[in-house]
Symmetry: C2
């Protein structure tokens, strides 16, 4: 049993939105259980929110509620600051203030970590405190812990997966119902699976934040977020999802980070996966991440990637870890990057990335067109795996679908420019990258 | 970079079989990488094996090789004893000796943990050292870490999964090829997926060892291994795998631990799962474990459940954790159960367990038989979900397949005894439990 005579470890929450409220709820509902497991009680001391008095269905009496987040950070009884407000300006200031004051920080803020992870990690180290962020990637799935601790013995070869539930819901529904992107997006909004402004999700930026965090940990390197090639799902047509299925593939928005010699290949884009691939079966709002290590081979982690309670599960796990270390008098033991050496690895330029490609041309329906297109691809060393010419459906053009073997992106782009110059196709080709 | 002026932390391995050799290989091949991550070098100081001089394809010069395991345990430079010899007699003595001498222990020995986990956990606590055993369940998958740390904020509702690769290989092949159990077992032996004496695997004992470990951690309780109901896959007929598939189900050997009021429901048996279930898609020698927590919902962990390198990945992760804590001067911080309070929970008697049931009777092909059988089931409050009577295939009898809704096992057993007494069926009914 937890020794109730010990003074509890004080927790302060910044932001009582969905996740903040979920975190408070888990701390209250499972407080005794957690105390029995870590041997020490936790206490929610203070919380800040723009609307602190709203009824959240939880008993926050005994907890200071304020609109001033500094009061939480500076509160003498708060030892662990939990940043759940989001954004990268005020959130960063407050996290820096907390770390600077020798307080440990737990955050779910992927944008903050993607942009300022290195700076904040160094600051935590300098101040001798812990910075944890399990909830920043894939919600309740303990993927950061698996990557940094469970697989610590491995040279990580790749980490990739489905890390945005909104996009996965939309892609799953498009494939299942044949409905258009805009229709499914509207439905996702109605169901609460997409935000009022879904830009960050559907443009792939949220997934890029997460892969920046994963790549940094997998390859022990800083990652320049701005340089990560990102492509969202907004342009995706139902027609291509249909063709993909006919070819035995499923389209998923993947966040990918792979070792590529001395560099790293990090990117986010819609990806065609063979329907037998484990990730092809991850449907709806769920997330799943594959980690490939040199000793362990492929492992996969699956679960709810968002939502109040799953995310709170990860936030409170981090709080418990920090509290355990605080109670043992060595809070740095709770920092997953406490000892990590850093090696600077360059991002592989997109032109040098190799994948398979799905190409759809709207091609003129006359002799010699396929021969010209395949000739240009061949000249760029791009070999074809499958070709399907579909029935005539638009004024005088037919969809010509080509699956290529692995090829350099730069070669493909050259070939496409040349093909466009031929004047035998209508508009730009649709390009979806293919991974096996 | 790891400070190479620090004296390395000494590792001693008991047993240089497949896993021991893999562990040594990972320590050597990835030693620098691991040192860079934990900030401290590791050194393999000593190893014991019955045949220490065999060429293992790794450079063990500088490491004491001995046939006397006590020399490893007692070696003054060995701080972490890694028990990979298996068995519960000598292995137990040596682990007790190591813990008693104030050395931390890492083990992959599920039988040892299932039978003596409580005793060894207490001893480690009394001696102020760590006992870790990630590799004892599901090979390279960091499931112990996910359960005890990643999901620490959750009241665990259930943990269940495919934890024996040999059985899963056999069941996958039986379903895919229609071959009989004995044929597939022989093939599994040939491929090295089954041991020469596969009893522990195919009788479900290995899976029971693992579920005993998982249940103890999930529910913070001692588990009486001998009381766990265990049923293996030896009796399974291809006919039933076929019928299962026709009904939209897949047969898997599941290890199951569920909260059941104040008790726990722990068992191992062949289980029919709907083909859409995530575990239904886990094929071949792979393992996967589902953990359901009250906050996080369902999470799943997938990967290689056996093999030298995947298992070594988990062993070396434990070693790294202990070494990190040793280097920080607080080795107890590396014990996953260091602070856990223990509550004694009873095992739910099998008679009180509720599942669905697949029943196959070889029934006489005459009027009234189905009516009598379903009447007896109905009288025991067992309602039918599906009934299929198949074409005549054995002398005068036809396979009568019934899927029931959830019912108490005790009620089913009563009904089956009564049905057998009718004299309208040939032999005992085939019974496979069904989980949704």
């Amino acid at each position: 049993m937890a020794d109730s005579t010990r003074s509890p470890i004080g927790i302060g929450i910044l932001g009582l939105g969905t996740i903040g409220t979920g975190t408070a709820r888990v701390l209250i509902d499972n407080g005794e259980l957690i105390a029995d497991r870590i041997g020490h009680p936790l206490r929610l001391v203070a919380a800040a929110d723009l609307d602190p008095d709203r009824d959240r269905g939880i008993d926050l009496s005994g907890c200071l509620l304020t609109t001033h987040p500094e009061q939480v950070v500076d509160h003498p009884e708060v030892a662990v600051v939990v940043e759940l407000m989001g954004g990268t300006t005020l959130a960063r200031e407050l996290v820096v203030r907390a770390l600077g004051a020798g307080k440990s920080v737990v955050t779910a803020n992927k944008a903050l970590l993607a942009h300022h992870g290195d700076e904040l990690t160094r600051l935590a180290a300098n101040k001798g405190v812990a910075l944890r962020f399990e909830a920043s990637v894939a919600g309740g799935i303990p993927i950061i812990k698996a990557l940094t601790e469970g697989l610590i013995a491995n040279r990580i070869e790749a980490v990739y997966g489905i890390v945005n539930g909104t996009c996965n819901y939309i892609l799953t529904e498009m494939a299942a119902t044949g409905a258009a992107f805009d229709v499914v997006l509207a439905e996702a909004r109605r169901l609460g699976y997409a935000e009022a402004d879904p830009t960050f999700d559907i443009e792939g930026i949220d997934a890029a934040h997460k892969v920046a965090i994963l790549a940094r940990l997998a390859f022990d390197t800083p990652v320049d977020f701005a340089a990560i090639p990102v492509e969202g799902i907004r342009g995706l047509e139902t027609l291509d999802a249909d063709f993909a299925r006919q070819l035995g593939y499923v389209v998923k928005l993947l966040a990918i980070a792979k070792r590529a010699g001395p560099s790293i290949d990090v990117r986010v884009h819609p990806t065609m996966l063979p329907e037998g691939h484990l990730l092809a079966k991850v449907d709806g709002v769920f997330n799943a991440v594959v980690v490939r290590g040199d000793a362990v081979g492929e492992t996969l982690y699956y679960g709810a990637g968002a939502g109040a309670m799953p995310t709170a599960s990860a936030v409170v796990a981090d709080i418990a870890e920090v509290a355990t270390a605080l109670a043992r008098g060595d809070v740095r033991a709770a920092d997953p990057c406490a000892h990590r050496a850093v090696v600077r690895r360059e991002l592989l330029p997109l032109d040098e990335v190799e994948t398979g490609f799905y190409l759809r041309f709207e091609a003129q329906d006359r002799p010699g067109v396929l021969s010209k297109i395949s000739g240009i691809l061949g000249a760029q060393q791009i070999s074809l795996a499958q070709v399907r010419q579909h029935g005539r459906d638009r004024e005088g053009t037919v969809p010509l679908v080509i699956l290529t073997h692995r090829a350099r992106e730069g070669s493909l782009r050259k070939a496409l420019a040349e093909i466009e110059g031929l004047g035998v196709t209508d508009g730009a080709a649709v390009v979806i990258r293919v991974e096996q």
